[in-house]
Structure formats: C-alpha cells, structure tokens
C-alpha cells in the first residue's frame, strides 16, 4: 500500500513530463468525454489511451491492480444502463422487468466505454507521476498555497501507515476477545470499535508529524524549493497529444453522426 504511491523503477518517457502538463491533459479529456454520451468518441479516446500505456510504463496487469474499482464501476454502469434505459429499436433480451434493446444496448456500451475512457487517464497519470513531483508542480507552477499542498502530501504518507495499523489493531483486538464472529450487529460494533482505535492512533500520529514539520520550520510564508518544477519540450508534446486525442474523438463522433451533447439536449 505504501509502496503503491511511489514509482518503483518506472523510467518510461512520460515519467519525465511535468506533472502539471499531464494533469492538464487529464482534465481536458475528462471535460471533452463528459460532453457527449456516444460510443464513437469514447472508443476513439480509449484506443489512443491504450496506445499510451508503454509510454507511461503501465501494463494491463498493473492497470487492473490499481484501477480495478474504476473498471468495475464502469462495467456496472454500462450494464445497468443497458437494462434500465428506455427501449428503442429491436428488443434483444426480455426478462420480465428487465429488457435490453438495440438502443439501450448502444447507450449502455457508450456508458461503459466512456467510464473507461475517463478513468484511464487518471490511472495513467498516477502510474507515471510521483506524488511529490505533482505537489511540487501544483505549488510552484499552479501557485496553489504550499502549506496546503505539502500538508496533503505528508498526510498521504500516513494513509499507507494507517492501512498497516488497521491490520495490527484488528489482531490486537482479536487477542482481547473482540472477534469478527457473531451477529451482524456485533460485527458492526467490533468494526466501529476498531475504527475508533485507528482514529486515536491516526490523531496521535498526525499531531506528532505536525510537530516534526513545525520543528523543521514548516509554516512560514516563504520557502524555497529544492526541486524546481520545470517545463520541457516534452510537455509541449504531451499537451499537443492530449489536444489531438480530444479532437480526434470529437471529430470521429461528429463524422459518424453519433455526437450527442447530453446537456444541451435536455434544454
């Protein structure tokens, strides 16, 4: 868990790009793909994103390991849309209250692809970006307040620590006779107790970490940066690449006649 937040030995090309450039592209993709629900724009974007995997040092196995909740969510969204959306066109499957028609299937597929196309850039970003570098870029380039950015960064380190602590507290409580057996109500109470134990430890740790940071002079109005966040020619390519993918997705959908501005339609 703690190790999941570092880059290990990832030396892929995109690890060298400025995190803010990558972050900007992710935002751009999200906005463009949120505009329309159609399967063409989503699949074009998705195809390009898959092509980027090697550049970010990401493999399908790693993707599943880090992004499976997003993938499962996209699949569930697609499935429920297919069975719940109003039926249009030929009915393909009808099981009582659930039915899948050509129209609802198309909509569901669009939903699934879109979910994946929006989720993937975020996974790509995190797989080729060290959180410390992202914090540097957000504070130095995006000019977010450094106290906020660095405070969040330091707190993120504690999150991994807390995951280990949760396991330990669970064992320590079993050794006191608080079991994960019993009725659901008893289990709920046991979990609440364990959460309280974790909360106490989290607060102690956090306040001690705060003292450490303050004793190292953190909290002043001015500070210098040991790591300068810089842009390079690579970042131009990153941004251009992002624009290209977005434009290609929109153009393909408009060309295929499936571009469907969800928000405009309702008015």
């Amino acid at each position: 868990m703690r190790e999941a937040l570092t880059l290990h030995a990832n030396h892929a090309l995109l690890t060298r790009a400025n995190p803010l450039a990558k972050f900007g592209v992710v935002m751009l993709m999200t906005v463009v793909l949120a505009l329309s629900i159609d399967w063409v724009s989503a699949s074009v974007a998705l195809a390009f994103e898959l092509l980027l995997f090697p550049l970010a040092g990401l493999t399908v196995a790693l993707l599943w390991q880090r992004g499976w909740p997003l993938i499962v969510a996209a699949a569930l969204g697609g499935w429920s849309t297919s069975i719940l959306a109003p039926d249009t066109g030929r009915i393909l499957l009808d099981v009582g209250i659930w039915s899948i028609s050509e129209g609802s299937l198309e909509l569901g597929l669009g939903f699934l692809l879109r979910g994946l196309a929006i989720a993937l850039p975020a996974v790509l970003l995190m797989s080729c970006t060290d959180p410390t570098d992202l914090a540097d870029a957000l504070a130095q380039k995006a000019k977010l307040p450094h106290r906020f950015v660095l405070g969040t960064l330091a707190a993120m380190r504690l999150v991994g620590l807390m995951a280990e602590e949760w396991q330990t507290i669970g064992m320590a409580r079993r050794a006191r006779g608080v079991g994960s057996h019993g009725t659901p109500a008893q289990r709920l109470r046991a979990t609440l107790g364990q959460s309280f134990g974790l909360l106490v430890q989290a607060i102690r740790r956090a306040s001690r970490l705060a003292v450490t940071m303050e004793a190292r002079g953190f909290g002043g109005a001015q500070r210098t940066w040991a790591r300068e966040s810089t842009y390079s020619a690579l970042d131009i390519w990153v941004v251009l690449g992002g624009l290209l993918i977005a434009a290609a997705a929109v153009a393909a959908a408009v060309g295929a006649g499936t571009w469907n501005m969800v928000f405009l339609e309702q008015q």
Binding site: R2, M171, Q201, R216
Partner: protein, 543 residues
C-alpha cells in the same frame, strides 16, 4: 563551506520559566532556572511528569501559543495554555527563531515527512528559504554525517529501519544547521544496534559542528560518555526549584545514584533486582538449552512445525490462491507449560510475525501451528481457527503498543472485559489490580495512563482471561527500570505457576531473568519487500 564554519552554537537561558498546558490545572514546568552555555551537551533526567518534553518542545518553538499577555488583570482561563517567566535561545524567544533549534522525537515513523530520502532531508532547509544550490550541498553533507550517504537520494523512506529513520531525521535537522540539537528520547524505540547507530551519529555531528545538545533519555549509560553535564529535573512547585541536581555526569551519578535508581532511571552498571525463579529449568545465561525444541519436563502446549510466516494475506490471482513471500520459514519450536521461550534475531527476521502466527492471529504461509489436547481443550488443533473468546482463554498476546489493545474507556472495564465475555474469572481481577499496582487507577481512562502504567495494564488485561500461554512482543521496550523489574518478576512468578511465556525481545537481561530456551531467527530472507516494521514507539505504534 562546512558545518563547522556555519553553525553557531546556541545558548539557553531559563529564568523562572513555567508552562501550563491548555486544559490542565497544574503546570508541566514550574519555576525553572537554567543556563546552558553554547556548545554544552546536557542530559536531562527526571521522573515522568517533570516536564522534560515540555521544555524541549518549548525550546523547539512548537508549544502552542501562550496567552500570557492576554490575561492582564483577569484570571487565566484554564482552557488556554499559560507561560510564566522567560525562556530564551541566544537572548530571544525560541518561536521567533525558526531553525535555530532542531527537535527529534521518539516515534521514528513520524520523524519522516516525505517519501524520498533526499527530499526529506531537504524539507527543513527549504522551509528556511535556503537557496536551491546550497540545499543539495547540505543534503549531501548531512547524509554523509549520519552515515546514510550510501543510499540513493530517491530511496523510499518507508523502506528504512527504525534506526535509519532516526538518523534520517537527524540529517534533516542538520541540514537546517541549528545551533541547538534537542533530542526527546531519540532511541527509546530502537533495538540495541539502532540505539548505538543513532547515538554515534549524534556524537559525530556534535564533534563536527560544536552545536549545543539537550537530550532527554532514561537510559543514562547510552549517553553518559557523550554529554558533559547532567541536569535532573523534578516537578517544580512554589517552594521547590525545578532543577533538583546539576553537575558533571560522574558527580551527579555519584550523588544521586540511589535517588535515580528509585525513580526508575537506568543508571549505568545497575540491573534492577528481580525475583529469582524457583527450580527454573533454564539457568540464566546457560547455553546448553539454546535452540528451541529441547526436551524438557513441562507439558507440551503448542508446537510450530516447519513454519513459514508473513503478515501479508494470500492473494487471489487468476482463480488461484498465491501465498505471500514469507519473511521467515522453516521455524520449528515448542511451547511448554512453565517454560520461557525467548525469540531473538535481527530486525526484519520475522520475530513479531512468528509470534503473532504462533498466537493464532496470523495464518501460517506454510507449515503448522498446532495446539495439544492439553491446551486446545476441545477447540480444535489450529489456533488460527479458534473463535476470539476461545483464543483468549488459551493463548494471551500482549502487543508492543498497549493502546492497540484497549477496548473500553475505563481501567476496571478493561480488566473485566475478558472475564465478562467468558463468563468466569472475574474474581481474579482484584488480584491482578493489586499485583500490578493498578488499584488506584480503576476509574481512569486507559489512554491517559503513563507508559509504564499502560504496559502493566495491557499485561493484566490479557492475563485476566487466564490463558495458559502468554505471548509478549517486546514487552520491555521504552520501559523505565522500575516497570522493567516489576514485569520481569511478575512473569517469573507466572512461569513458576505453570504458564508458558513466549517473548520477542532484544533485551538480554530480561531473557536471563526468565530463563528457558532461546529461539534465534536468522537474517531476513533476501527479499526487499519482506520488511518487518522496525521497533516503534511503545506509546503508539504497531509491533
């Protein structure tokens, strides 16, 4: 530029200084008068509650804002903290001089701020607005001084041992070039190797920079030769000065040896008196019984056979269950009634993990842990499969961090918890309260107790369920000499009464008192991921 020409040793002056924490009725420090010359190295001693940590925090400038000025003419509000007298570094208040003093605390996990080695060292210097080029020069020098220069700058800080984390913290402090080093029990949570690592690094840096040192630590032997002055504090009052004794180490130790011993300070050359085991099967220090599994008289209760252990759970991958990589394997050991088993070995050798597996709290990766019929009493052979209440009546486990095991808000409820669940054994609670000196604390909240009290309570709560096997993870870590002696004596009594005691410990004197056999685990297997968390704060952390 080197440290020596850039560090200006700081002077400390306290005149009638006192501090009351917000929400407390009594001041933590009262009427402190103390002069520390630039470059002096001072060891602060004193009973818990004498305000040692408060003084260090104040010097580091991290105590909350005081409202001393806000109450002119009015009565001070108990909800706010309150400062009296003056405390100065080089004639100015510590708060106004960021970076003049550097503070190291005891929990290694919270001494690390960032996830890459070099970035963490640079953090303090950045905050002091040191120009970028200078920062990296300082980082390199500081890492060199603490002996971590062999690691790459992007080395993950989470992969460091406890002693390395503390040395990293020292490097981060050195990079700020403070004139005053403040160490608050910097080695209390480290194993013996880690203690020396940190102590030697501090010594080297002081020799190089000439900075002033104030260290709080109750193991006097570790620091005695490094400091040139010992100051003993006491809880000050209107009539008594906060400084009880002040002088050279030899002088103070000669003058106040008995008093320090009585206060639980680890005075060099003194091992607290403990109860001797009657008819002990293992003679203290005897080597004949080394290696577990030596036939002995006590009934066999629990046995580990070719055991491989890990904290990780098995993973599912492509419909197959993939077992985790063990931190240690091939462990065979026997736990017998009335006998002590001590588990030793270097950091990362899986000592705690083995103990937790033996205790039925972790699933073995390979091999078996089996309870004999004597112990299982109908609950089945595998302790991991026992229900929680079956487990506590058979095997009791005391974790390194007592707070992890607190499940109620009152000392008495804490002790009654096990017996109430089991439906018997409540009569034993009074005896335990008495024996472990907790009688006066029955209504207190467990979280508010002192370190030694928490340790005694955690042992008592586990024993209240009357287990035949007691497993303890580093029970003596960070304990003062009095708690240490009480614990060792109490466990030797339990052994004589027929309880099996298994302890994970680095503490040779402690295992000598208990006798029995020693199981020595080898160096960690060559696997970078197999890292056992280093010893940590007895007040906070995971074992």
């Amino acid at each position: 530029m080197t440290f020596s020409d850039s560090v200006r040793p700081a002077a400390v002056t306290a005149r009638g200084w006192g501090w009351r924490h917000a929400g407390r009725s009594q001041p933590a420090v009262h009427g402190l008068d103390l002069e520390i010359q630039p470059g002096e190295r001072v060891l602060l001693l004193g009973p818990s509650g004498a305000g040692k940590s408060t003084l260090l925090h104040a010097l580091a400038g991290v105590l909350g804002d005081s409202d001393a000025g806000a109450h002119h003419g009015g009565t001070p509000d108990a909800e706010d903290s309150d400062e009296t007298g003056t405390l100065l570094i080089d004639g100015a208040p510590p708060r106004a001089q960021r970076g003049r003093a550097g503070l190291m605390q005891q929990d290694p996990e919270t001494q690390v701020v960032l996830s890459r080695l070099g970035d963490d060292v640079a953090f303090g210097a950045e905050n002091l607005s040191v120009p970028r080029g200078d920062i990296w020069k300082r980082v390199g020098e500081a890492l060199d001084d603490v002996g971590l220069a062999h690691l790459p700058l992007d080395h993950p800080t989470s992969a460091l041992s406890g002693g390395q984390k503390q040395r990293l913290a020292l490097a981060g402090i050195l990079a700020m070039r403070p004139g005053l080093l403040l160490l608050d029990e910097p080695t209390a949570n480290l194993d013996p190797d880690g203690v020396l690592e940190v102590r030697d690094a501090v010594g080297r840096c002081l020799d190089k920079t000439g900075a002033t040192l104030v260290v709080v630590e109750h193991r006097v032997g570790v620091w005695k030769d490094l400091v040139d002055r010992i100051v003993v504090l006491q809880p000050g009052s209107a009539t008594e000065s906060a400084v009880l004794l002040d002088g050279s180490p030899d002088q103070v130790l000669a003058q106040a040896r008995d008093m320090l011993v009585a206060a639980g300070v680890w005075v060099p050359g003194y091992v607290p008196a403990t109860r001797t085991r009657s008819g002990a099967t293992g003679v203290p220090g005897a080597t004949g019984g080394r290696g577990a599994g030596v036939p002995a008289d006590g009934d066999l209760l629990l046995a580990a056979e070719s055991l491989a252990v890990s904290r990780e759970r098995p993973r599912r991958r492509r419909f197959k269950t993939v077992p985790p990589v063990p931190v240690q394997s091939g462990i065979t050991a026997q736990v017998r009634a009335g006998q002590a088993l001590t588990i030793t070995g270097p950091n990362g050798s899986g000592k705690s993990t083995f103990a937790l597996t033996l205790a039925g709290l972790l699933q073995p990766v390979a091999g078996t842990v089996s309870a004999t019929v004597d112990l299982s009493d109908g609950a089945g052979i595998d302790p991991y499969k026992w229900k929680a209440d079956q487990l506590i009546a058979r095997i009791g486990t005391v974790f390194q961090e007592p707070e992890h095991q607190f499940v109620t808000g009152r000392v008495l409820d804490e002790l009654m918890f096990g017996p109430r669940h089991l439906g018997h054994g409540e009569e034993r609670v009074d005896e335990l309260l008495e024996r472990l000196r907790l009688t006066k604390l029955v209504d207190a909240n467990p979280y508010t107790l002192s370190g030694g009290e928490k340790r005694r309570l955690s042992v008592a709560t586990v024993l209240a369920a009357h287990p035949r096997v007691l497993i303890l993870d580093e029970p003596t870590f960070g304990q003062d000499a009095n708690t240490w002696a009480e614990l060792a004596s109490f466990l030797s009594e339990l052994l004589d009464a027929g309880t099996a005691v298994v302890s994970v410990t680095h503490d040779q004197e402690f295992s000598d008192v208990l006798g029995g056999t020693e199981l020595k685990l080898g160096a960690p297997q060559l696997n970078l991921a197999a890292r056992e968390p280093g010893p940590r704060n007895p007040e906070v952390a995971a074992p």
